[in-house]
C-alpha cells in the first residue's frame, strides 16, 4: 500500500479523483435540495455527444476540448428541457425522459462513429461511459482545479441568493431577485459538476456521484453550509477510495467502485446519523417510552398515597397493574428502585410484592408533574 501511494501516477489519480468528488459533492447538495437529481441524470447522459464532438474537434483525447463539448451539450439539454416544460403540457419527468434518451442516443451513435474511424487515441473514449480515474493525467489536474475554484467562488459569492432560491423561489421572485438567472446559474453549475465528474464515474453513473454524497450529508447536518461542506468531503472520500481500489486491483473499474463507496456512506448515514438515522430514532422512541412509563409509575404511587393520606402507602403490584393498564416492566421498576425513588416493601399478611414512594420519589413525582404541566402550556 505504501508502495502504491508513493507512485507519482497513483498520487495524481488520487488527487484528481478526490477533487472531482469534492466538486460534484458540493454542487450535488444544491441539486438534491432543489429536487433536481433527475435533471442531473439527464444532463449527464446529454454530455456524451459533447464528449465525442470534443474528441472529433480536437482530434485527440484533449480534456479541455472534451469538457467544453460536454458542457455545451449538457447546457443545450437543460435549455431543451426548460422549453419543453414551459411551452408544452408535458410534465418535468416526461421532458427529462425525452431529452435524456435523445441526447444519449446521439451520443452512442457518435461514439460508434468515432471508434469505427479507428484513430489511435479513440480507445480512451469509452472510458467516459463508466469512468476511469487511471486515465487522469497530471495536466488534467490543473483544469479540474481551475473548474473547482470557479465553482467554489460562484457558490460563495452567491451563497445567500442560492440559499433563497433553493428554499423558496416564489418569495425570491416577489422580492425582485432575478430568479431565472439564479436558477440557470445553479443548473449550469450542476452541468459543470457533471462535466468534471465524467472522467471519474462516466455518464451512466454520474447522477450517483451527484446525489449520494448530498443524501448522506443531509443526514448529519442541520444547516445548508454544513451540508454542502460535508457533501464535498464525502464526495472527495468516495472519489479517492474508488481510485485507490482500482489502482490496487488492476482491472477494477473506477466508476462503479466510487459509486459503491458513496452508496455505502449513504447506507451508514441512513442507519446511524443522530436524530435522522433509523437506529437513533429507534433508540429515542425506546427512551421516550421508558421515560413515560417511569412518570406514570411515580404519579400512580403518589396518587394512591394522597388518596389514602399516607405518604408511605404500600401499593400492591396488582393495584399498579390496574391503574396503569399493564404491569410496568420489571427492569423499569428496578431502575426506579436503583435511583432511590421507590422501595419494595412487604405488607403482612399479604405475600404479594408491594411498592412505596420514598421521599426522593415524592420530590421526583412533583417535579415531573410540574414539567408535564409546563410542557402542556408550552404547546
Amino acid at each position: 500500500m505504501a508502495d502504491l501511494l508513493s507512485s507519482a501516477i497513483v498520487q495524481t489519480v488520487l488527487a484528481g479523483a478526490a477533487l472531482l468528488g469534492a466538486i460534484s459533492g458540493m454542487l450535488g447538495a444544491f441539486a438534491v435540495l432543489r429536487r433536481q437529481s433527475l435533471l442531473g441524470d439527464a444532463l449527464a447522459h446529454a454530455a456524451l455527444p459533447g464528449v465525442c464532438l470534443g474528441f472529433l474537434i480536437a482530434g485527440a483525447r484533449d480534456l479541455g476540448t472534451i469538457m467544453a463539448g460536454a458542457f455545451l451539450t449538457g447546457a443545450l439539454a437543460a435549455l431543451a428541457m426548460m422549453l419543453i416544460t414551459r411551452r408544452t403540457t408535458l410534465k418535468t419527468d416526461a421532458a427529462l425522459g425525452i431529452v435524456l434518451s435523445v441526447f444519449f442516443a446521439v451520443g452512442v451513435v457518435l461514439l460508434t462513429y468515432v471508434q469505427r474511424q479507428g484513430r489511435t487515441a479513440s480507445a480512451g473514449l469509452e472510458t467516459f461511459l463508466f469512468g476511469q480515474a487511471a486515465a487522469i493525467l497530471r495536466a488534467d489536474l490543473w483544469i479540474m482545479g481551475g473548474v473547482g475554484l470557479v465553482a467554489l467562488a460562484v457558490v460563495l459569492a452567491l451563497w445567500k441568493e442560492f440559499k433563497l432560491v433553493s428554499f423558496d423561489a416564489e418569495f425570491a421572485r416577489a422580492n425582485g431577485f432575478p430568479v431565472l438567472a439564479l436558477e440557470a446559474a445553479l443548473t449550469m453549475l450542476v452541468a459543470l459538476a457533471i462535466v468534471v465528474g465524467l472522467q471519474l464515474v462516466g455518464v451512466v453513473l454520474m447522477v450517483a456521484l451527484l446525489i449520494a454524497p448530498a443524501a448522506a450529508a443531509r443526514q448529519w447536518t442541520r444547516s445548508l453550509g454544513g451540508m454542502v461542506l460535508l457533501s464535498a468531503l464525502i464526495g472527495a472520500l468516495s472519489g479517492a477510495g474508488g481510485a485507490f481500489a482500482s489502482a490496487a486491483q488492476r482491472g477494477l473499474a473506477t466508476g462503479p467502485v466510487v459509486v459503491l463507496t458513496a452508496t455505502l456512506i449513504v447506507l451508514i448515514s441512513l442507519a446511524l446519523a443522530p436524530e435522522r438515522g433509523l437506529l437513533w430514532q429507534a433508540l429515542a422512541a425506546r427512551r421516550a417510552r421508558a421515560r413515560i412509563s417511569d412518570r406514570r409509575v411515580l404519579a400512580t404511587l403518589q396518587g394512591l398515597a394522597e388518596a389514602h393520606d399516607n405518604r408511605h402507602y404500600p401499593a400492591e403490584s396488582g393495584m399498579l397493574k390496574t391503574a396503569l393498564g399493564a404491569m410496568p416492566r420489571a427492569e423499569r421498576l428496578a431502575g426506579l428502585e436503583a435511583r432511590g425513588f421507590i422501595r419494595p416493601v412487604t405488607h403482612p399478611p399479604e405475600t404479594t410484592p408491594h411498592w412505596e414512594l420514598t421521599r426522593a420519589g415524592h420530590r421526583e413525582a412533583d417535579r415531573l408533574t410540574r414539567k408535564t404541566r409546563d410542557e402542556e402550556q408550552g404547546q
Partner: protein, 266 residues
C-alpha cells in the same frame, strides 16, 4: 385623484394614482380557459386594514399574485403608491396562502426570517449580527423567540405560519399583503397576529389580508373588498358589509350566517 393618462407605452414610468396604496385598473387574468379575474378595478387607500373576502376560487389569491407580479395578467395594470410593482420591490411584505417550500430543508426558523432582509443586504453581503438581531425581534413579536434555532421541519403548522409572517414583518415594509394568515392557527395565535397587524396599521402602514371568517371580519378590519371573479363591492367596511353585498358575493345562504353588526368599528 390626479388623472395622469399618458400613452400606454409610457404608463410604467409615470406616477399613476400615487394617493392609493393599491390601485388596480381593468385587470383581467386567465389560467388557460379559466378566467380567474374579470375586469377588476380596485383602490385601497394607505393606512387601512383591508380584508379581501370571497368564496373559494373567487380569485383572491390570483389578485394578490398578479398585483405582486407573480402572475401575468391578460390585461390591466397595478400600482402600489403610484408605482409599478418592480419599482416597489422590498417595500411590500408578502405571506402566500400555502407555503410551497420543502419543509425538510436544512434551515432554522431564524434563517427563514433573515431571508426577508436578503434584498436590503444587497449582493455579496452576508447576513451579520444586525440581520440576526432584527430577525430575532420579528420572531419575538409573534411569540416565536424560543423557536428561533429550531429546524422548520420541527415546528407545528401554526408555528411555521408565524415564522413566515415574521419574514414579511422583518422587511419593515409600508405595505403588507397576507393571504389567509389565520388559516390553521389557534385562537390565541390569531389574537397575536391581529393585534400586531392593527399596531402596524396604526403606524400608518397598509395591511391587506385575505380573510375567510365572516364572523370576525367586522371587528378586525376597517376596509373591505368583496369579490367573486369581479369586484362586488369595496370601501369602508361599515358601508360595504351589507346583506345585499354578501348575497351577491356568496349566494343566498351565507348572508344569513353573519349578519352585519351595524356600527361596530375595527
Amino acid at each position: 385623484m390626479s388623472d395622469i393618462q399618458t400613452s400606454d407605452t409610457r404608463k410604467d414610468e409615470a406616477l399613476h394614482e400615487p394617493g392609493q396604496a393599491l390601485h388596480v385598473e381593468d385587470l383581467t387574468v386567465a389560467y388557460g380557459a379559466v378566467t380567474a379575474l374579470w375586469d377588476i378595478d380596485l383602490d385601497i387607500p394607505p393606512g387601512v386594514m383591508c380584508a379581501i373576502v370571497g368564496p373559494n376560487g373567487s380569485g383572491k389569491s390570483t389578485l394578490l399574485k398578479t398585483a405582486l407580479g407573480l402572475v401575468k395578467p391578460v390585461a390591466g395594470h397595478v400600482r402600489f403608491l403610484g408605482r409599478p410593482v418592480r419599482q416597489m420591490r422590498g417595500q411590500i411584505g408578502y405571506v402566500p396562502q400555502r407555503q410551497s417550500v420543502d419543509w425538510d430543508f436544512p434551515i432554522t426558523a431564524r434563517e427563514v426570517v433573515e431571508m426577508g432582509l436578503y434584498r436590503s443586504l444587497g449582493w455579496l453581503r452576508r447576513p451579520d449580527a444586525q440581520t440576526r438581531a432584527r430577525a430575532m425581534k420579528a420572531l419575538s413579536e409573534l411569540g416565536m423567540q424560543d423557536y428561533a434555532s429550531r429546524q422548520i421541519s420541527q415546528l407545528s403548522g401554526g408555528q411555521q405560519q408565524r415564522v413566515f409572517i415574521a419574514r414579511a414583518l422583518v422587511q419593515d415594509a409600508p405595505i403588507l399583503i397576507l393571504d389567509e394568515p389565520m388559516a390553521g392557527v389557534d385562537a390565541s395565535t390569531e389574537a397575536i397576529i391581529i393585534a400586531l397587524l392593527k399596531r402596524l396599521r396604526d403606524e400608518g402602514r397598509t395591511i391587506i389580508v385575505v380573510h375567510h371568517d365572516l364572523t370576525t371580519v367586522q371587528s378586525y378590519f376597517d376596509w373591505l373588498v368583496m369579490m367573486n371573479v369581479r369586484v362586488i363591492a369595496q370601501g369602508p367596511i361599515r358601508e360595504v358589509y351589507t346583506p345585499e353585498n354578501l348575497r351577491a358575493t356568496y349566494g343566498r345562504q351565507l348572508a344569513m350566517i353573519a349578519p352585519p353588526a351595524g356600527g361596530r368599528d375595527g
